[in-house]
């Protein structure tokens, strides 16, 4: 499948602090990919590198096959960018901002898509964006992106500052638009439930590297939480469990319950615990939503 985004061996530092080293990933055409990671793992850094507002120490980002640092300006017509906090020109109103952008996208601008969304906002056409709520501003930003009708959308933390109603509206509009027109979307969000409704694939970032990149259903169907009671009171998680790469973040509760996360089947987990000589009570398995799976993969702290 053709890749719309390709990041190859990205290394970036802020001063002496390493954000990541030799990070590589790609986003295939027509997929919605969500970037998940704890605070400080480099999500916004990645968006900034992709949109060309940050120069990596080494490596390169390519969009539609062109390096973002030296990209042909005309190619930006096919890239929609949503900046964190849905930033737009505060000094313009709904009509002025549409008129301004329309001139840059002749032949592809869909005025009606913008005004269709604007009808849902209870604001006067002459109201300035600076006087709008976060939710209203997010709809203006989304409306402009839909009107631009780009092949690729890059969204930085689109759910920040939005109430559940606006978040849902944003997600549904975006998902319908992307799927019906075969568009590619690369996004980050702190609200994992939103990503679960929206994305096809996800990249989970840990400090300094990518933990995994896979289709969402691979996590939903295959990743589970297992727990069982240990008969002996242990002060620490048994060392063999910590060393087994198939188990994510095994932990002991105060009551002596062992909790661990894994992509393994229940029988295989059982088998491994026995092989490690860890006596335990009956093993329970929980299905996880994406947020729990994210915690399981990255740890609570």
């Amino acid at each position: 499948m053709e890749n719309v985004i390709e990041c190859i061996n990205l290394t970036h530092y802020y001063g002496k602090r390493k954000i990541y080293e030799n990070l590589s990933f790609s986003v295939p055409k027509g997929r919605i990919l969500g970037l998940l990671g704890k605070n400080g793992t480099g999500k916004t850094t990645t968006i900034n590198l992709l949109s060309g507002y940050l120069q990596p120490r080494s490596g390169e980002c390519r969009i539609f096959g062109q390096n973002v640092q030296t990209m042909d300006p005309a190619l930006r017509k096919q890239i929609g960018l949503l900046i964190e906090n849905h930033v737009q020109y505060q000094f313009m109103n709904i009509e002025q901002i549409e008129r301004f952008y329309a001139r840059f996208y002749p032949g592809q601008w869909r005025k009606e898509a913008y005004y269709e969304l604007m009808k849902k906002l209870k604001v006067a056409p002459g109201q300035r964006i600076s006087r709008m709520s976060n939710g209203q501003r997010s709809q203006v930003a989304l409306g402009l992106l839909l009107a631009q009708n780009p092949e690729l959308l890059i969204l930085d933390d689109f759910s920040v500052g939005l109430d559940p109603g606006y978040r849902r509206l944003f997600v549904e509009y975006l998902r319908d638009w992307a799927h019906s027109e075969g568009k590619t979307v690369f996004l980050t969000s702190h609200i994992i439930q939103d990503l679960e409704r929206l994305v096809d694939d996800c990249i989970i970032m840990d400090y300094g590297s990518i933990l995994m990149q896979c289709p969402l259903n691979h996590i939903n169907d295959g990743f589970h939480r297992f727990h069982c009671q240990l008969p002996e009171r242990l002060s620490d998680v048994p060392a063999p469990l910590l060393n087994d790469k198939q188990f994510y973040h095994p932990a002991l509760s105060l009551t002596g319950e062992l909790e661990l996360y894994s992509f393994l089947e229940k029988d295989e987990v059982e088998h491994r615990l026995q092989a490690m000589n860890i006596p335990h009570g009956p093993l329970s398995i929980d299905n996880l939503d994406l947020e729990d799976a994210f915690i399981g993969l990255t740890g609570k702290y």
Binding site: N48, S51, G52, Y53, L54, Q55, P73, A74, L75, R76, K77, I79, L81, I83, N85, V87, Q88, Y89, Q90, F91, M92, Q96, R99, F100, R103, F104, Y105
Partner: protein, 219 residues
């Protein structure tokens, strides 16, 4: 791009136009009142013997303030929540967009300062000999060039992302602008005017340094 700049600055431009023209008008009223009170001949003699820029002296910092004010109105909104990213994401060459933004500001100042000069010229030519009012207009020219330079240097500072660098730029701006105010002696700047004009033109490139640093994420 001009449309965006116009929406952003139109009220500020009107304000700057009214204030600068109003101030010039106020100074000219003083001039006309002095002519009425003391007679034209007395003023002529005073201007020739004192050899200093009577009546226009109070205008010297006005264009500089106007230039700084316009740069603030035009470029602070671009840096608010890093809105400049939106501008730089438009499908045009970054250099071209920067020149369009600066071109708009320079044209607006040109109209404003041109109107100031026109008012000065029309009023003075009715009461003064061409040599006298020519000298006064020439004295004011470096101050108006300082207005353009102040605009460009302010844009350079505002578009800069790093505070430490902004302070450094501010010091450079202060020193550069000082060159325009070394003397208010008539004809003092005449041989130096072409250099000042070249300096102002060269300042057009300075905001590009800030934009380039912004693109590299230097804060």
């Amino acid at each position: 791009m001009f449309y965006k700049e116009w929406i952003k600055t139109r009220w500020a431009l009107l304000f700057i136009l009214i204030v600068t023209c109003g101030y010039v008008g106020y100074e000219l009223l003083n001039f006309l009142r002095a002519i009425g009170a003391m007679g034209g001949a007395h003023i002529w003699i005073a201007m020739i013997t004192k050899d200093e820029p009577m009546f226009v002296r109070h205008l010297q910092y006005l264009p500089m303030v106007a230039g700084i004010a316009l740069a603030c109105v035009q470029f602070f909104p671009e840096m608010y929540h890093k809105c400049l990213k939106l501008t730089l994401h438009l499908p045009c060459s970054h250099l071209r967009m920067m020149f369009q933004m600066l071109g708009f500001g320079l044209c607006a100042l040109l109209v404003c300062f041109g109107l100031n000069y026109l008012i000065l010229w029309l009023t003075m030519r009715s009461s003064l000999a061409p040599e006298l009012y020519g000298k006064m207009l020439l004295v004011a020219l470096p101050w108006y060039l300082a207005g353009f330079a102040a605009y460009l240097l302010s844009a350079w500072i505002i578009l800069e992302g790093s505070w430490a660098r902004r302070i450094f730029n501010l010091v450079v701006m202060f020193l550069c602008l000082k060159v325009f105010y070394l003397s208010s002696f008539p004809d003092a700047y005449v041989p130096f005017l072409p250099c000042l004009i070249v300096f102002v033109l060269a300042c057009v490139l300075l905001p590009w340094i800030s934009i380039d640093r912004f693109k590299k994420g230097i804060e």
